[in-house]
């Protein structure tokens, strides 16, 4: 289950008392998220990224940078954040040609874009489909297979949850053995925000805390997939690879 308020406060207190978990190597060593500023909604889920990254830091070994860096496509720092989140709450204006070109370069060079539909209707969805078609015209958004690495990069996930249940799967654009654009319509980041007292900012519908926990797990898997790529898929074959060579300790 996700960390509840009492757990959260206790853990935060323990974290403050404990010795620093690591000596940071600098800003580039921390795994942070870029928040794409485009259209309405990028700031509609305050504290959500911070909460997700906090959960990541507590549940995994990843050294995180909690605060997202809000970036525009032409921001010089865009390429310091290989994971970019675009939250949309309404129809978004078309990206400029320069923005498309730069984001395409970003994706091709190793960046990953998660698009989160936080809108109440379908207007943002239409914008997303139009912009994805411009960003990656060769391949359309397609539903991810149930055995996609994203669904087992840390937690085993059967259904991608969010603040709402609008769609039972995620969509994505995969290129070169890597899903570089992911698109969810369940307002994933809407499930994460907390107020200063530790309460949830938004209710999760319909299953409440269990659904919120599942949303966190998806978020953690998302960060894990961004940093480990298909590592978990390797492990299916690892034993076979190890055994394939009949290496033995010399007698």
């Amino acid at each position: 289950m996700s960390l509840q308020r009492r757990q959260f406060l206790a853990t935060a207190a323990l974290g403050a008392l404990a010795a620093p978990r690591a000596l940071a190597m600098g800003a580039d060593a921390e795994v942070g998220v870029g928040l794409l500023q485009h259209g309405e909604g990028f700031d509609s889920r305050p504290g959500a990224v911070e909460q997700l990254m906090w959960e990541v830091s507590k549940r995994t070994s990843i050294d995180v940078r909690e605060r997202p860096r809000v970036v525009t496509p032409d921001d010089p720092d865009l390429f310091r954040f290989p994971l970019l989140v675009w939250i949309g709450a309404a129809e978004a204006p078309p990206l400029s040609a320069d923005a498309v070109r730069r984001l395409r370069r970003y994706l091709r060079s190793g960046g990953m874009l998660y698009i989160d539909d936080a809108s109440p209707g379908d207007a943002f969805d239409a914008s997303v489909r139009a912009e994805v078609a411009r960003l990656w015209p060769d391949q359309p958004l397609v539903p991810l297979d149930a055995d996609h690495t994203l669904y087992r990069s840390f937690f085993l996930i059967e259904r991608p949850e969010g603040r709402v249940r609008r769609r039972a799967d995620l969509e994505g654009v995969t290129f070169d053995d890597r899903t570089l654009i992911l698109y969810g319509r369940n307002d994933l980041f809407g499930a994460f925000g907390r107020d200063p007292l530790g309460g949830w900012v938004l209710p999760v519908i319909p299953d409440g805390n269990r659904q919120r926990e599942m949303a966190f797990r998806l978020g953690i898997n998302l960060v894990m997939y961004a940093t480990c790529l298909n590592y978990k898929r390797d492990q299916v074959h690892t034993t076979a690879i190890l055994r394939r060579r009949r290496w033995r300790v010399s007698q």
């Binding site: 940071a24 995994t60 050294d63 085993l156």
Partner: protein, 772 residues
């Protein structure tokens, strides 16, 4: 008789009747019809006469017609002086090395020579009607001027191939007979044919081409020699490093019982395996399997040896040497990661994209400090298989990457010495920086610290510098194959200066004396020198690289933001991997023999390629090649000695081509040395000089193969005692006409007289009997 009558001068030696007329077929037919018509008419018009008169007239008429026909056909006697062309008796003497083994009196070949000397008169008698041609036969037939000069030096016995060569040399009508003198120890199609009563098809085919009797004279001891022989060794010419290699051997034992001998497989001086051969009653062949795991690439000479039995007559076949080329199939990389990060992500992508890399990744996704709110079956985590990776499988990796990974917390302390030995014995190792690396990872004072290129400070204190920086190349780094993003040092400087900034380095005390700093911090110091960022070191047989930052990923990703791409990141790490795994292509000197195995007396070609410190071909550079031979002395001990030094200079392509002709067998190692002023760089190759082992794998003389041969060729199989006299030969069929003379018979006056007389008498009688 004809010749006696007509050749009074004795100038001709043949005579036969011929028709000297040159009438055509139609004319002859017309005459024949006329004759038959005339005779029929005669028959008809004498039917009224009494018996005596009827037959008298008919006889006279027939005689007259016969004489006329005779005159018409112009018969004659053809006298000829002819010469009969001698056909060939091919005598094939087996000159393979098995003929040098003991026979009845001397060696098998000596016995053959004695036979030929003893039977010289028989051979001389053959020469009256035949041309006697001698050949040696090994893997083919070669003409031989004097049988007394034959030596048993051939590396194979292929009797059918020799007969094919003879058949190709002569037409079938030119052959009188073939005589094969051999011990029958054939290692070609004849010897390998299953022992059956019928002659093998290949022998039948060659006999059909020859169309002459094939005889065989068997030479060999009455009892097979007492011998232990390696009759077969099966191995692949190449094998993959760190993969099990199998070598199968078959050993044949003749004439011994209750024998126990060691069977040993060696790589150079190192024993890879040993088995025991114990003879069993009724069994003469014994199979052995050896399996070993080569731990380094390159060519090596392997020696399979079976011990010598008491009073063994043939010792050359107790040892077999061969070369196996150990190659890399894929670079096997173990990437161990202390925590996922962007640096991990980009290096992993690089490794996964490299088709030559077989990547085993283990990422620590959760630590003991992580909060566990999910059931175990809701997580995709697996245990960290430390024993399997660092003990059982350790030697199978070409390269181990510790990327921001600490061994602490995984009960790994006992594996650290194994990793040190892995490196010492030739493995590659990289430690990439981070808050879990170097001293921050607790490595100070551990076996890992023993081989790292950097000196680690003790724990405590300020271990990490977080600032941004752009590393600079050292003088060594400008040319080193790892940091050479361009072969031109000045261009390389520019490329490095254009790379995005890095952030954060692990602090170290300094670098080891034998380490080479390639890139360093522009502002921070360690041990009185700029703080190292990329440092290389050779440790034992292995190589180690330390990268004291975890931010090189920015060269893969941030470079794209500035209009560049990830090519320099890929180039740098690609170079590093190749250097760490000791890719032969990165050797400044490479020497290669043109073959792995040479027969005795063959010339060896050695190609040496040299590159300079700028990795361009080194022109006009002195090269010394040391040729070292290893052999086994009479006591079975391995000896080595330098047999020659070859010296030369490289061409404009940086190549030096040397030739060498070994005079003795053995395992040879050639070492090329180039003095580059500051250091001496070397490379070596190996090859074997030895007779073809196939000849002595079976030493028993075999009359069964010769029996099959003569069965196919319709000849005789004899022993030496039976000699050569009386062997069937085809008489020469080809004759040559030197002179010819035709004596006409029809022009005789008596014949003309009779031709007039018979019709006249017939006419007279008819008139007398009142028929006219």
């Amino acid at each position: 008789m004809l010749r006696t009558w007509f050749d009074s001068g004795g100038d001709f030696n043949a005579a036969h009747l011929v028709l000297l007329s040159d009438w055509g077929l139609l004319a002859l037919l017309a005459v024949a019809l006329l004759v038959l018509g005339g005779l029929a008419l005669s028959w008809h018009n004498t039917r009224e006469l009494t018996g005596r008169r009827r037959w008298t007239l008919r006889g006279l008429r027939a005689a007259a017609v016969g004489l006329l026909v005779l005159l018409f056909l112009q018969p004659g006697v053809r006298l000829e002086n002819v010469t009969r062309v001698r056909n060939h008796v091919a005598v094939l003497i087996d000159a393979s090395r098995s003929m040098g083994l003991p026979g009845e009196a001397g060696t098998r070949l000596d016995d053959v020579k004695a036979l030929l000397a003893r039977e010289a008169s028989v051979i001389d008698a053959w020469k009256q009607d035949h041309q006697v041609d001698f050949f040696t036969v090994t893997d083919q037939a070669r003409p031989l001027a004097d049988p007394a000069t034959v030596a048993a030096e051939g590396d194979a016995t292929r009797l059918l191939s020799g007969l094919e060569d003879v058949a190709a040399r002569f037409r079938p009508e030119e052959m009188a007979a073939v005589v094969v003198l051999s011990d029958g120890a054939d290692n070609g199609a004849l010897g390998e044919a299953p022992a059956v009563d019928e002659a093998p098809p290949a022998a039948v085919a060659v006999a059909r081409r020859l169309q002459a009797p094939i005889h065989a004279i068997f030479t060999g001891p009455k009892d097979p020699p007492r011998d232990v022989a390696i009759s077969r060794v099966a191995y692949d010419d190449f094998a993959f490093v760190r993969n099990a290699v199998s070598i199968e051997a078959e050993i044949t034992v003749q004439g011994y019982q209750d024998l126990v001998l060691p069977v040993t497989l060696r790589r150079g001086d190192t024993i890879l395996g040993q088995r025991s051969l114990t003879t069993e009653p009724g069994q003469d062949r014994y199979a052995f399997d050896f399996e070993f795991v080569p731990d380094k690439t390159g060519k090596d000479v392997f020696t399979l040896e079976v011990g010598q039995a008491p009073n063994e007559e043939i010792r050359d076949n107790n040892r077999r040497q061969f070369v196996i080329r150990i190659i890399r199939d894929k670079i096997r990389v173990l990437q161990v990661v202390g925590r996922p990060s962007w640096d991990v992500r980009f290096l992993r992508k690089l490794l996964k994209k490299n088709p030559n890399v077989d990547l085993i990744s283990f990422f620590i996704l959760r630590t003991g400090a992580s909060i566990d709110v999910a059931r175990r079956d809701e997580l995709s985590l697996i245990p960290f298989p430390t024993q399997e990776l660092f003990e059982e499988q350790l030697g199978s990796f070409d390269l181990i990457i510790f990327q921001n990974f600490t061994y602490r917390g995984y009960q790994m302390i006992q594996y650290l010495p194994l990793i040190r030995e892995y490196v010492r014995e030739g493995g590659g190792f990289v430690m990439i920086g981070g808050d879990l690396s170097f001293t921050s990872g607790g490595y100070a004072g551990t076996p890992i610290a023993d081989f790292l290129p950097v000196e680690l400070p003790p724990e405590g204190g300020d271990l990490i510098d977080e600032g941004r920086f752009r590393p600079t190349l050292t003088e060594a780094g400008r040319r080193h194959p790892i940091t050479a993003l361009s072969l031109v040092p000045e261009e390389n400087d520019k490329l490095w200066a254009g790379l995005p900034e890095l952030s954060g380095v692990n602090r170290v005390l300094g670098v080891r004396e034998d380490a080479v700093v390639l890139a360093q911090h522009p502002a921070r110091e360690a041990g009185g020198a700029p703080a190292p960022v990329v440092v290389a070191r050779e440790f034992g047989q292995g190589r180690v690289l330390a990268v004291t930052t975890d931010s090189t990923w920015s060269w893969a990703f941030q470079a794209a933001a500035e209009g560049g791409d990830n090519r320099h990141y890929y180039k740098l790490w690609g170079n590093a991997i190749r250097w760490l795994i000791q890719d032969p292509a990165l050797k400044p000197v490479r020497i290669e023999a043109d073959r792995d195995r040479y027969p005795l007396g063959a010339e060896v070609t050695l190609m040496t390629r040299v590159v300079g410190s700028d990795w361009a071909p080194a022109v006009d550079t002195p090269v010394t090649i040391e040729v070292r031979r290893a052999w086994f002395d009479a006591g079975g001990l391995r000896q080595t000695a330098v047999v020659t030094l070859l010296e030369g200079r490289t061409s404009e392509n940086g190549e030096y081509l040397a030739r060498y002709q070994p005079v003795e067998g053995g395992a040879y190692t050639v070492t090329a040395r180039v003095d580059r002023g500051t250091d001496v760089v070397t490379d070596e190759d190996v090859f074997v000089v030895a007779p073809d082992p196939v000849e002595l794998r079976g030493t028993a003389a075999r009359s069964d193969t010769l029996r099959a041969l003569v069965q196919a060729g319709g000849g005789e199989l004899r022993t030496l005692d039976q000699g050569l006299d009386g062997l069937e030969r085809v008489e020469p069929a080809v004759v040559k006409v030197n002179r010819r003379k035709d004596v006409p018979l029809w022009s005789s006056g008596w014949l003309l007289l009779l031709a007039v007389l018979f019709p006249s008498v017939e006419w007279f009688l008819r008139r007398r009997w009142g028929l006219l």
